[in-house]
């Protein structure tokens, strides 16, 4: 019930705004903000009620799991639930939405109520995607979320918004069409049921099905070379559109991979891993290199997303527990860091009405608070230890290197992304923040208290994840474990190359790894 | 002694065909519309005939539905014709071709 509440509370806000929009913009904004904040508060209840020891969906907890027949004739049910993976993406969504609403407080000039309604409707769509355990329901949410995004970019976007939004929609639809075919194929192979939880075993043509799903998700991620919609969409989207796009929408692609591609078609995943990982690594380097030379701040951040998400995909396909866990964490990290970056870009855009790097310089002098926050976020994006980005990236790379289902060379090349990230980010930071202050920029005011209030919560999480990542890693551990178990291609022991001396594996465990030891013992017993 | 089903069906087919021809050769939107009604009616006739032939009430039931839909369709259709006329001063379907590709 609680989960349904979380999903549909924003929709309630949409209705409320629709009814009360005549009462003026402040009421509309107030409703939107309060509702989204309420959603976040309620979604914290999900975390509170979450039992990390359950590897499957929390079927015993009525609050977090619901299954109701919907269209019985077609085997469609309203079936929602969460596990440790979706939990964090849900919280990320519910967290970013109020932040976005607060961030866009004064920047929407026309159609405010429509904007807020789109935003809230989008939230429902996104949450639905992360919660759905019914393929049909998933697809419905997946598609429904396109509509508000289409409006957000198409109405409130920049100059070339129509081109961008159509590109975005068509790209995504192209993928969705494939996915729909995949879903239908699964439906018929699964005894005419769309129920995710009953899907198991070997499917016919699993390689093709895998591709159908994977391409849809790869476009969403976006994996090189399906990424060209992203820079356009980001550049044209309004600030919060970019934030949501980068923060949550892209995660739906990676979420889809970990939810569908890997557990459902392990054999196919194994078969396709080489080229996927190749693309991911190309994406990491390519995204970084192209980001480096972008003259437009938003485009730069957009290409950096391509690079960052390449890491996530790399981790997901490593079929290694640590790396997948790192990938999931990195999804959250990227949502926070890139979201914050877009917010910051939006904030100077509001002041200067330009996103071109050459138009800036020396802002640190006029806007010290902005500069400080920008720096922290930049560093988080670079992956500085102690901030969130590092933990995820490190786990991905370490897991992939140690136990990845592919050559270590991939990891070596991927690791160069760490260097390149520093190059393009710091270069951008230098050109925007440092140097001589331009005359036109002298009057730019520093962040006001509202903007600080928007950013500080994100900073708190950026530092929190960096310093205490276990808060986030623990609840997803068993769920990720289950995915890994399903993949079952690589045994969950690090690949040590040729171990000449045969030794007791327990002895090689880290000293403090008490939990792990227990887990392994339990596993051994169950086997 | 009731008449064979075929009589009614032939009649229905002829009426339907006349409706089709009307739709094709007339240019007045209202008349075209009437022809559509004619076709619907022809279908209704077939329905009722089958209903009696099979001794089932469903045929008549569907006639009922057809009529309801026809009523709705006429209401909307005429409203469209009225507003088209308001804007274009014509209901000649040859001249109303804004949707030309």
């Amino acid at each position: 019930m609680l989960l349904s509440l979380v999903i549909f509370l924003p929709l309630l806000g949409v209705i409320a705004i629709a009814l009360l929009r005549g009462m003026g913009p402040s009421v509309v904004k107030g409703i939107a903000f309060v509702i989204s904040l309420l959603t976040f508060v309620v979604s914290i209840g999900l975390y509170a009620g979450f039992d990390a020891s359950i590897e499957d969906f929390q079927t015993d907890n009525e609050l977090l799991y619901q299954k109701k027949a919907w269209i019985t004739g077609l085997g469609i049910s309203y079936h929602i639930g969460i596990d440790g993976i979706s939990l964090w993406l849900i919280l990320l969504t519910t967290f970013l939405t109020p932040v976005c609403i607060l961030a866009t407080w004064n920047s929407v000039e026309k159609g405010l109520s429509g904007f807020m309604m789109s935003l809230l409707a989008l939230e429902t769509g996104m949450l639905g995607v992360f919660c759905s355990l019914d393929l049909f329901l998933f697809f419905v949410f997946w598609e429904s979320m396109l509509i508000p995004m289409y409006f957000l970019i198409g109405i409130w976007g920049g100059e070339r918004r129509i081109y961008a939004t159509i590109k975005f929609v068509l790209y995504t639809m192209a993928g969705s069409a494939l996915m729909l075919v995949g879903i239908l194929a699964l439906y018929f192979q699964n005894g005419n049921s769309f129920d995710y939880t009953t899907l198991s075993g070997q499917f016919d043509h699993d390689s093709l099905l895998f591709l159908a799903f994977f391409i849809a998700f790869a476009i969403k991620v976006p994996l090189f070379p399906f990424h060209t919609w992203l820079p356009d969409a980001h550049v044209e989207a309004p600030t919060v559109g970019s934030v949501i796009l980068a923060g949550v929408l892209l995660k739906m692609g990676t979420y889809g991979i970990i939810r569908f591609c890997l557990p459902l078609f392990p054999e196919a995943a194994k078969l396709h891993t080489p080229w996927i990982v190749t693309l991911a690594v190309i994406g990491i380097i390519y995204g970084a290199l192209v980001a480096m030379v972008q003259p437009d701040l938003k485009k730069l951040v957009a290409y950096s997303s391509v690079s960052h998400l390449g890491f996530v995909v790399l981790g997901l396909f490593s079929q290694n527990h640590d790396a997948i866990q790192g990938s999931v964490l990195q999804m959250v990290n990227h949502g926070l860091s890139t979201g914050a970056l877009f917010l910051l870009v939006g904030m100077i855009y509001e002041r200067r009405h330009s996103r071109m790097i050459v138009d800036f310089g020396g802002l640190a002098k006029r806007m010290p608070i902005f500069a400080a926050i920008f720096l922290i976020v930049t560093l988080s994006s670079i992956g500085l230890p102690g901030l969130n980005g590092f933990v995820g990236e490190f786990m991905i790379l370490l897991g992939s290197f140690v136990g990845g289902a592919f050559s270590k060379w991939y990891v070596v090349f991927a690791t160069t992304g760490v260097i390149l990230a520093a190059v393009y980010m710091l270069w951008m930071f230098q050109r925007v923040m440092f140097g001589k202050l331009d005359k036109t920029n002298e009057a730019l005011p520093d962040l006001n208290s509202r903007e600080i209030a928007v950013l500080v919560p994100i900073l708190v999480f950026i530092v929190w994840i960096g310093v205490f990542p276990n808060t986030f890693l623990k609840p997803m551990e068993t769920s990720v474990g289950k995915v890994v178990e399903k993949v079952q291609v690589v045994p969950n022991t690090p690949e040590l190359g040729h171990v000449i001396n045969h030794r007791d594996t327990k002895a090689s465990l880290p000293i403090r790894n008490i939990e792990n030891t227990k887990l392994i013992e339990e596993e051994a017993q169950t086997k | 002694m009731s008449l064979p089903l075929e009589y009614y069906l032939v009649l229905s087919a002829l009426l339907f065909t006349i409706g089709v021809i009307g739709v094709l050769i007339r240019r007045n939107a209202i008349i075209i519309f009437m022809c559509i009604e004619l076709m619907l009616n022809a279908a209704n006739l077939a329905f009722v005939a089958f209903s009696r032939h099979l001794g089932q009430a469903e045929g008549q039931l569907f006639v009922f539905f057809v009529m309801a839909v026809a009523a709705a369709e006429v209401a909307i259709g005429l409203a469209i014709i009225v507003s088209v006329f308001k804007h274009r001063e014509t209901i000649n379907v040859d001249e109303v071709n804004s949707l030309k590709g």
């Binding site: - | 006349i18 001794g55 009529m67 009523a71 369709e73």
Partner: protein, 180 residues
């Protein structure tokens, strides 16, 4: 001669003549009136088929409401005959009529020949139907079906009508006058 056949021939002939008149008259008013005639004879055919309820509804709905609307609109727009310049129909009239004849031939063929091959038109079906004829299809039975097995379609129909209602209001609503 079978009286039923006589009645059938009369009504059938009237309805076909009416139908042809619909597409032949140049003026829409005459077409409309011809159509009413056709509807009436159809109602008669329905009576002949024992479908009294349908016949009554046919008259109420088609003759009583729909055609009045037609007339109303024709008069409201004061439509006369249209000018003869036509882009397409003039050239294709012949084609259309030939097509129509082909269609008619096919329809008749279905009615006369093809139907027998189907389940519905088979002799067995007729025999089975004969058994059911003891209970005539009266209004009571229709009502019963309508509110039991076909309740959902029935309600959907009402929704369609509601939608039509709203649609019409929106379509013909006059735009608000600018206030000043």
């Amino acid at each position: 001669m079978n009286p039923e056949l006589i009645v059938f021939i009369i009504f059938g002939a009237v309805s076909i003549i009416g139908a042809i008149a619909v597409i032949s008259f140049r003026h829409p008013i005459y077409s409309a009136l011809s159509l009413i005639v056709t509807f009436f004879s159809q109602a008669g055919l329905f009576v002949l088929l024992g479908a009294h309820f349908v016949a009554a509804v046919q008259v109420i709905v088609y003759a009583g409401a729909i055609m009045v609307l037609f007339l109303f609109v024709i008069m409201l727009l004061n439509l006369g005959t249209l000018s003869a310049k036509g882009a397409l129909t003039g050239k294709l009239k012949g084609v259309a009529i030939i097509l129509g004849i082909l269609l008619a031939v096919e329809g008749v063929y279905i009615a006369v020949r093809a139907l027998n091959k189907t389940e519905v038109g088979s002799a067995e079906a007729a025999d089975a139907a004969a058994a059911l004829k003891d209970s005539p299809i009266d209004t009571y039975r229709i009502g019963e079906l309508l509110f039991s097995d076909y309740l959902l379609p029935f309600e959907v129909t009402s929704l369609i009508l509601l939608a039509a209602l709203i649609g019409v209001i929106v379509l013909v609503k006059r735009d608000k006058q600018p206030e000043n």
